[in-house]
Amino acid sequence: MRWSLAAAAAFVVLATIAPLAQRSALYDSERQVRLEGAVTRVEWVNPSAFVFIDVRDGGGVVANWAVEIGNPINLERHKWTRRSLRIGDLVTVDGTPARGPNRQALARSIVHKASGKRLFDMPAARPGGTGRAAPAPRWPDGQVRLGPAPGQKGYWSATGTKALVESTAANVRMNDEGLLANLTDADRVAPMLPWAKAIYLHRQRTQLRDDPITRCMPPGGPRQFQMPNGVQFIEQREVGRILVLMGGGNRNWRVIYTDGRPQGQAAEAVLTYYGTSVGRWDKDMLVVDSIGYNERFWFTNGGLPHTEALHLTERFSRPDASTLKYEVTVDDPRTYTRPWTGGWTLQWVPGEDIEEYFCEEGNTP
């Protein structure tokens, strides 16, 4: 009986809550909703926590709504805990409703109805640049460190990055997920071949709903530097490699070999999400050459396509302790008419270890 009940409960949950997806695809930002009711449940789960409330409509019918309140790690940083709301609390929620029939909303604010106290405001993503602009830390031989100085902690935050766009394209407006404000800007994003542009526009028109990352596929290519919870570099100079650890990627890591080995031949590569990377230092800049990517992921927010011919040249530099400049040249002649370059800046988050979350497909409560 217990198993039957558990299975039934799981079915109800899966049936009533839309699976994890790009927010643009899940929520209709053109509409707003106000919900008033009593809290029935709080689900403190990765990658997004939910509050459930019973809402009575004008006809007296009560319906249970799932209200998404964001990533628990980010919430805890803003002093919000799983006990901030108690079962039975009467609240007013302002938010964005889900597309379609699901009784689900993304909260913008939650107000305690009796006291009028504002319990929750959707916290902004973690601000970057909190560290002082001190000189970049260096190894004893003078080479710039990409990780923390000895005895210190910190990691790189991807806050502020949107989608990879050719650096010559100015003022391409898009949201944080890379959804263009104006589809006519597609030609300025990257020099795509006709099939690639058609696929890109299809992904844009469908609000990125088919993004493999919503099925917990690894964020290969430049996208690893766009993930929530940031990245960390572990420089293992004694064995000639650099590990790139991702906070938001199911403990994925990428290896950049710096031991002087040559890049392999593309035809021999075992195709993976992170490719095969070899790096070398050019003064204070790490230049990384990567091939051997499979075609099972989107290499940036926004849905730009690629093929197995993808060849990336990434350049990392750290002009000061708080800033990591990331630039990447994309060369994929099966997808783009010519090589093109884009990039962004990551900010150092001092004094903290990278925090990881684990994506599970459909892991809403």
Binding site: H202, D210, P212, R215, R296, T335, G362
Partner: protein
Amino acid sequence: MRNSKSVIAGCHLSLGSDPGSDPGSDPNRRIVPDMRKVAAFLIASVIGLSVLAGTAQEGHPLTGTWSGDWGPGVNQRTHITMVMTWDGKTIGGTINPGPDAVPVDAIALDVTKWTVRFDADAKGASGPVRISVEGQLNDIASAHRTITGTWRQGTAKGDFKLTRD
């Protein structure tokens, strides 16, 4: 009936509520599956299916191996396996790779309508047999997207459906 364990797809499924006991020794005793292992098996199956469903090919929409059939009616179908490639300029292909392979030099894809068209010459008993195919690419975001349309082979004509493996 000494059947305390069975194996389903590598998952050991106990059929005895009391580990170590012999259910065959008591004919009135019901054989109750170990619910934890049943649940673990079911969960693993769901996760496995989810992973399979999640490994879509996100590159050029035609590249890869496709399989399906064509024919003039539901009772007259001919199996097809087709491999398509994209080199940056041309979409090439092979129908039924193997000793009877039919090379396809150029496959036309109209990305404004997602229509596909190609011609090829198969070996016939009395000479080459012309194959002409026109189809519609459906559900381009799916790992198992399909092409459906009309298949002409010699004087025969029928419908076809190819599904990307």
